[in-house]
Amino acid sequence: MEIENITKKLQLVFQTLFDDETIIITNDLSAKDIQEWDSLNNIMLFVEIEKIFNIHFRTSEITKLQNVGELIRRITHKLSDSVSMANS
């Protein structure tokens, strides 16, 4: 899946979860920047992302996330892993 496509889907997840259609996600965006992004919503964020991309995160990936850039990298990585597994 293209990065733009991932970003687009992810942006929609953020907008729905935080109930704010003006959120534009950038690589630097982090929990500090969104007031509602607390530990509970962080979990819900991952629950949504796992469902939408059909991927799975480790516990530590959920707790140690730095920013959206890292999130996109991890999603891309997991998706390409699953594609290469499917092709092998």
Binding site: T16, L17, D19, S39, L40, I43, M44, V47, E48, K51, F57, R58, T59, I62, T63
Partner: protein, 624 residues
Amino acid sequence: MTDSGLSHLLPLPANYFHNESNGEDWHTLLHYRCNFRQLSLLASKLTKECTSFRDSINLKPLKFCIISSNNSSLLVPAIKGTGIRYGYHMQITEYSNTHPLLFLSEHQLNILDETYDFILVALNYEDISFWHTDSEPAYGINTKIEEFVHQLAQLQSSIFKKTGATILFQNIPRKPHTIFGHSDATITQSEQFQLHLFNQALVAMTKQTSSYLFDVASIAENEGLNRWYDERMWYLGKFAFSPDYLPLYADHLCRIISSIKGESRKCIVLDLDNTLWGGIVGQDGLEGINLGMGDPEGEAFITFQKYLLQLNDRGVILSVCSKNNKADAIEVFEKHPKILLKLDHIACFVVNWENKPTNITFIANSLNIGLESMVFIDDNPVERENVRRYLPVVAVPEMPEDPSLYTRTLSQAGYFELPKYTKEDLFRNENYQNNIKVKKLLSNRIDIQDGLAAIGMQLELKPFDAMGRNRIEQLINKSNQFNLTTRRYNNSQIKVIEESDSSYTLQVSLKDKFGDYGMISVLIGSIENQTLSIDTWLMSCRAIGREIEKAVFQEIVNYCFDREIKTIIGYYIKSDKNELVQDHYLKMGFYQSTIKKNITEWKLKIQQKNIVQLPFKITRPQGE
């Protein structure tokens, strides 16, 4: 979709909340399954500024409390949002991270609000800490379980005394891991074995007390334990199970609540072609339809019919609504060698070319039940859509295309939840069919009283007692048509009435030569200053039209006369459903004294005994 337990519902359209006209009627929501986000949104609509939303959808208020030693914060929006689908505006208080047994202390107990309708004790796996005891013999472990359940029973009784709320205990699904492997099931020290013992003891406790079981272990088992438990969620936030199942969990909880409130559904309306058998009888003929062993789908239809029969046995009414030639349809029921459902099982058989919403309304009227008690089953999506549109309160499960899944889908939809088993539930269906027989018998007679006498009716009249309390509660919360005031009371309120010296109460049971109908009528009055005021007078709809009210009236009048009570006051409070008894007191000879808003007050001065000949044999057993 992760929670296959909600596959009978349509997914909520993504743009549902953008459409302003939606959400004005919770009945349309009834047909949709919402994910956790959507449930939270619905819940916040209630909490936030949307008073117009709240008022326009006309929800019944309900105060709910969760006690859990885990993190129950996600349960709140899930339950609240789901509550709307069941017609409730739930106010929820949660005591998260609080071990339920802490409420055994006076101090903690006093925190509890006394106005809760329901309290859920959400037990979880981590609450059971007694199995790190491998050095102890098995009986020691069992004692610990007994002790814990005993404490839960004490908890139930002290919370009940304090709040009068209905208390629900949830049991605990096992973890998908073993210590000894397959032998876990046989080794008494294994967690699996002990959890099994605990769940059994909990069931026994809820049976013996006035509390109810929330069988979470079965939900988890249906969905699969590997998916039910998401260990990460436990470590991250102390969530007892995967958030994917919040909607399913909440839906099951609301089913139990609505069943305790007497709002379970009562009747299935069945389509015929491709619903009860494969193919179309009008085209394929009696020999051409697919039903019975030898064909995989034919077997699936047999299983489905078997399941319907089981529901029928436990009191769910079956009826048929099908577009067919009536003769073709009847021929299948009478002549097909494999068919299990017989015409005798069908309380109302409507086969014609009329539209289905009209027919379903007709069925509801002839069976004397409300549309909100009905479930419509049809393989045809167009018919389903039609019924959803015109009769939004009728439940219409999304039937899967494959008949192999019919039974599972209908069962997991949970329309016929039975909160507690009473003797009357066992015989209910027999009663509906008997009622039809009685009606037939009666219609052949000119004089109603002669007809009634011919069926050998026996009435038993006695004051409220502990034995009858569950059924009294059921009647008080379920009866709508013959119900003068439609006042609802819970078990503890009924107990108070039963024990009060100024109360005059009656529970009435009916038998005739066709069957034992159990308790069918309830009356609550109070006596003060030589006046009897009738707070509640109701009768189950299966006993309407038999002049039982006259016998009850005679009983009251004679009771009053013997005790020099001079006046009887009765009330009629108009509801959507009780038009039937609008003139009830007038017919009994009362005069109308006042009308305030929707309450009419009726009075009767007692001068003499009432000795009209009635077609009953009446017994009055001595109280306990």
